[in-house]
Every structure is written in C-alpha cells, then in structure tokens.
C-alpha cells in the first residue's frame, strides 16, 4: 500500500443516508476473483438506467464530478454486507476518502485496510458539505484534520494504529506476522483447544 498523507480535492455529494454496500456494488458483480476493475460497477444501479444509459441526475454523472477524490455521503454510509468489493470499487473509481457523520463498522474497517480514508465529521460541518457539492477540501492525515474552503479546520477521529499504517503505507499482515511467536505460545498455553 502507498503511504497517504494529504488528499486535496473537490467533493462529490451523495445526500442520502444509509447507503448500503448493495448500492455501492450490487451482488451480481461479486463473482470476480480479483480486485481490479470494480470501479465500473460502482453505484451501478443508481448510475445507469435499465438501458445502460447514465442517469443525469446521479451526482457521479455530473461533469464537475470528474477527478473528484472525496465523496461526501449521508449518515450511516456503507451499512450492510461485509463485501470488501465496496471500498475496492470506490478506490478503483478514483475516490480516496469518504466523509460522513457516521460510517458503518465493517465498511470502515475494510476502507482503512485499503487506503480509503473514512472521515467522520460533526453535523454542522456535514450539513455544510451536503449543501456545497464541489467544495475544495483538504484532508490531512498527519493532523487528522479536514480543511474547508474558508480555511476553517475540523479534526476527525481515526484509530491511531490505522492512521500510522496509512501514513507509513504499512501492511497490517506484516505487523500481525511479527507476533507469530506469541500466537504460538498462546496456542500452547490454552487450557482448552478449539
């Protein structure tokens, strides 16, 4: 994974709450055995109509959405299934961060493991972002802060370890494997064995 320090971009706004992972990527696109190319299926049934034409009103289909790396979404984004295809699709499409007031647990964990930064903001900041699509924002991971176009800065919570891994581009599996000695000892010392 590449280290991530700073994301500067305009926003795309999806002003709907409880966007579930079935909407982010419908199940019929999950038969893939690799991670690549899932961006094409991102929000598929919202982005395209029954004839495969782009739905003009959908935010991702608007001209100014191109090249945007930051998605602003309604409350409880990413609820539902544990499919990691959801963050894979968002990343493959070009997103690097998702901003909301609340992001579902498994999605957030999956996002962090793939370098998609989940940014949790307060209601007032969120309301402003929802009302101002295309706003230029800066997400700085080192200070865990979001800078709005007027220069105001709001901090966001992020797990210290996850932030460290993102900043350094560290693969968690490597970290976990360093503990193999302790894992073996744990297995030996258990009173009952699974």
């Amino acid at each position: 994974m590449n280290p991530i320090r700073r994301i500067a971009s305009r926003t795309v706004v999806l002003a709907v709450r409880d966007v579930d992972t079935d909407q982010i990527i419908p199940a019929r696109y999950l038969t893939t055995t690799t991670r690549e190319g899932l961006g094409q299926a991102l929000f598929h049934d919202l982005r395209y109509d029954d004839n495969g034409n782009e739905v003009d009103a959908f935010p991702l289909n608007q001209a100014r959405a191109a090249e945007c790396k930051v998605l602003v979404a309604g409350k409880n984004f990413g609820c539902g299934s544990s499919r990691e295809h959801a963050p894979w699709a968002l990343l493959d499409y070009g997103f690097e961060a998702v901003i909301s007031t609340e992001i579902a647990d498994i999605f957030r964990s999956n996002a962090l493991k793939n370098g998609l930064v989940p940014v949790i903001v307060d209601d007032a900041t969120h309301a402003w972002l929802l009302d101002n699509p295309g706003a230029d924002v800066v997400i700085d991971l080192e200070s865990a802060s979001l800078t709005l176009p007027d220069g105001s800065v709001v901090g966001f919570p992020i797990d210290a370890f996850a932030r460290y891994c993102l900043l350094e581009g560290i693969d968690e599996l490597g970290y976990l494997r360093k503990h193999l000695g302790r894992i073996e000892k744990f297995e030996e010392s258990r009173v009952w064995k699974p």
Partner: protein, 466 residues
C-alpha cells in the same frame, strides 16, 4: 467467575494474545474461520503471492453457498446455469481448498449449505469460541454464546495466515426482552421490532447481548434468527448466554466433544454468562407482549411496522425516496399489498423449524394465482430433514417450488431474482434497493407471514390462517 464481567468481556478476554494499547489494537485469536466462495479468492491470492500457508487449516471450514444454483447440480454444465463467472468462482474455491488443505463441504458432501446454517448444524459453532467469516451475518453464531462477527477479505487473509485479527474492543449493548411473545408472533418479528426500535445504526460500534425471559424461552433456531440480524441494527455481533437449551441442541452433533470432554465443555460453558454486577455501556428494554407480526415497508430493515399499522408519514428525503421506490403510500397498512414473489429461506429463516412454520400454513392450501414461491432450505441437511418429514410434498402440493440449498434470492447472485417492480415477501434479512434483483421491492417478514402472503396473494397476517 467475575461477577462484574459481561459474557462478551469473558469471551474477549480469553482470546487476547496481545492486549490493546492506545497505539495498537489487540491481537485476537480466532477459533473457527468459515470460508465461502465470494469473499475468499482475493485472500487466497495474497497468501499465494506471499508464499504463506493457511496456518491452521484444522480451524478453517469452507462451503459453497452464495452463488450456487438452487436447481440440482450434477455436472459442471449445470453450474454454468448461474453464469460463467460464478462457476469460475466456485471452481476456484475448490482449487484453493485443495491447494491449502482446507476441508470443503461442497457439492455431493451432503453437508453443504449456507455458512451460518452449517456451522451450528455440524456442532462446529460452540459457546465461548471466537468465530469469523467474510460475511456480515456471522453474527448468527452468537446465539450459542460465541463471539462471532463478519470481516472483510483482507481480514480473511489475516486469519488464514495467522489465525488472528487486529481488533479494537467494541462497546456493549444489552437488549433486555421482557414479557411474553404472543401466539403467532415469531423470533423474526421480534428482531425486526428490535431493529425498528434501535435503528439500522443503533448498534454501531457495539456487541449486543440479548437477554431476558423472552430470549431465554426461545429455542436455538429462533435465537439464531435474532442474532443473525444484529448486523441489521449496525452491531457486528450479537450474543446470547448459553444454557441447557444450547447444550441440548449441541449434544451429539458431529463436531462437539465426546464423553468426559463433553462434560468438561458443558461445565466450562456454564460460566459463560454476564455476572449479576456486570455493566453494559448501553441498554435498551423491549416489551414483547404487545408485538404483532412485523413487515418492512421501506428499503432498510429499520423501516418496519406491525402488519396492520399504517405506513408512517413524514420523514426526510431519504425516507420519501424509500417510499417511492417501494411504491407504498403513507397512512395505509402493508397488509393487502399485492405480492408477486415469495422467498422462504436464507441464513435468517432457512432452518428446519422455519420451513415447518411455512409448511403448516401452506398445508392443504394453494398459492394464489400469479404468485411465484421459492422455498430454499438453508443446507443440504435441512433439505434432507424436511424431505424426511414430507415437507417438500406439502410445499409443492401448494404450488410452491422446492429448491436445492443456498443463499438464493436473499441476494440474487445465483440467478434467483425478482423482476423490476415486483413485490417480494422475503424471509431474508435485507430489503435494500435492488438486493433481490434490479428494481425488486422487498418486504421482510417471518416464514409464517411469507407463507400466508403466498396463499392470499397479498401481504397477509398469518394469525388468521393458523
């Protein structure tokens, strides 16, 4: 037994290999890793690319469920029914399990089925275990007093390589269910009511413990239905303290300890309950006595009402969008809405007692004209047990289809889908837009309500038919 610890805290504490600190999450040991075809291929690729083995294949169990057809599979050609990429995915799991030495309960094993149905059925799911799977409904196994939760594919790779996960300790939420469940009201109705109460994000960051007299009175399959939908309330895990009901269910199953080991296990399991002085970060009280059969009216499981209650009005833009999608009107009840498809199955309601519940209502009646009804057992063992009791005959005599085991129309990956605009009464767990097919409108309900709706041709109260 520490009287101040919760059930969750006890199971968590027993599995901490390296404690968490402000800077680093805990290293948590996993006792059982369940694997299926959809969320595993990329994890196996990571292992292969890094030259790593699956560290504990003996604690890993794989099956095929999500994308498998529910029409009989005899040859590879049959598999292609579900599409070439799905067939490739199935074959890849077979190859991966062969290469990494993992037991696969595949076609012809007699034990294949939805991953959350077969774990308990085989007795692999046991109290006090940590259980994970690349599937959010892993919460089901918490019905046995296990700490069980869904993980992503990267974490599937972590468990394969190390048998551990990096985890922050979640908070605890007690849901106390008091009163008595009225006749004709099922565990599915109860859990839908709970989600309606706490909201689809009410459990975010928490492990739920379901407690109280109503929970204690549920049988194991009903407890699984409740824990299954914890994730629909935002919680990664839901747990119920093991008791005699749990031990009786497990006794004699294929993968439980035998003889004196069994006695020792039961003795150990008995200590797995929250102490009298245990405190939870939050708690919610529910009175079950006033519940009626529940149905969803919107596009998430929290948008749920009693079968005769009017669809609520008002709400924000997302709420109105959901009503539009569902083509339902505020102020009117869901009962009476014309139905096109009925799906009875899934890891929520695909067990033998669920099929019995539906069959009792279908028995001697006919499915309404123009309604397509799929009854899909949750596993090959459930299918065999149902057939041994003649339930398949009842189902087909009523005009419903009796299928092979799998996830089927729960997520519409295998070709079993509802068409655009069709209304589906479904015993599964998610009524998200497009979950059962593009434009399909899903109403979540119990097997009894689903069967009653199949007979009536519209959303119907099962209590009028029993």
């Amino acid at each position: 037994m520490d009287p101040a610890s919760t059930l969750f805290e006890k199971v968590w504490a027993e599995h901490v290999v390296v404690p968490e600190t402000a800077e680093t999450p805990a290293v948590l040991y996993i006792d059982l890793h369940l694997v299926h075809e959809v969320t595993s291929p990329q994890a196996f690729s990571v292992l292969r690319d890094s030259g790593l083995p699956v560290r504990r294949p003996d604690l890993t169990l794989a099956t095929l469920d999500h994308s498998t057809p529910t029409t009989p599979v005899r040859t590879f050609q049959d598999l292609l029914v579900a599409g070439e990429s799905a067939a490739r995915q199935v074959r890849q799991l077979e190859d991966n399990c062969g290469e990494f030495g993992i037991q696969l309960l595949g076609f012809g094993s007699g034990q294949r089925g939805i991953v959350h149905v077969i774990g308990p059925e085989l007795g692999a799911t046991q109290p006090g275990k940590t259980i994970v799977c690349g599937d959010s409904h892993t919460s089901t196994h918490g019905a046995f007093g296990a700490l069980a939760f869904g993980i992503g594919t990267t974490e599937v790779g972590h468990v394969m390589a190390t048998q551990c996960l990096l985890q922050r300790r979640p908070q605890t939420l007690a849901i106390n269910v008091n009163g008595v469940l009225p006749g004709g009201v099922t565990a599915k109705d109860l859990v839908l009511a709970i989600i309606g109460r706490i909201g689809v994000d009410g459990g975010t960051g928490h492990v739920i413990e379901y407690r109280g007299p109503v929970i204690a009175a549920l049988d194991m399959e009903q407890r699984m239905t409740v824990c299954n939908m914890s994730i629909e309330g935002g919680a990664r895990a839901g747990m119920i303290a093991p008791d005699d009901t749990t031990f009786q269910f497990l006794a004699g199953r294929e993968r439980v300890p035998r003889g004196s080991d069994w006695d020792a296990a039961v003795a150990r399991w008995r200590s797995l309950r929250s102490g009298d002085d245990a405190t939870f970060d939050r708690s919610v009280d529910i009175d079950a006595s006033a519940l009626t059969p529940m149905v969803t009216f919107g596009t998430n499981p929290g948008m749920v009402i009693g079968i005769d209650d009017p669809v609520p009005s008002g709400g924000d833009a997302s709420f109105r969008k959901a009503l539009d999608y569902m083509q339902v009107e505020a102020g009117k009840p869901m009962a009476g809405q014309p139905v096109d498809v009925v799906f009875i199955g899934s890891c929520t309601n695909g067990r033998i007692s669920d099929i019995e519940q539906a069959a009792r209502i279908l028995d001697g009646r006919r499915v309404a004209d123009g309604v397509r009804v799929l009854v899909v057992p949750g596993s090959e063992q459930v299918k065999a047990a149902a057939e041994a009791r003649g339930l398949d005959k009842i189902v087909t005599a009523a005009g419903a289809e009796w299928r092979e085991a799998g996830c089927s129309m729960c997520l519409g990956m295998n070709g079993d889908i509802a068409r655009p605009g069709e209304l589906s009464v479904s015993t599964s767990n998610r009524n998200f837009e497009g979950r059962q097919g593009i434009g399909a409108r899903t109403v979540l309900a119990s097997p009894a309500t689903a069967a009653a709706s199949a007979i009536a041709g519209c959303v119907a109260d099962p209590r009028k038919l029993v």
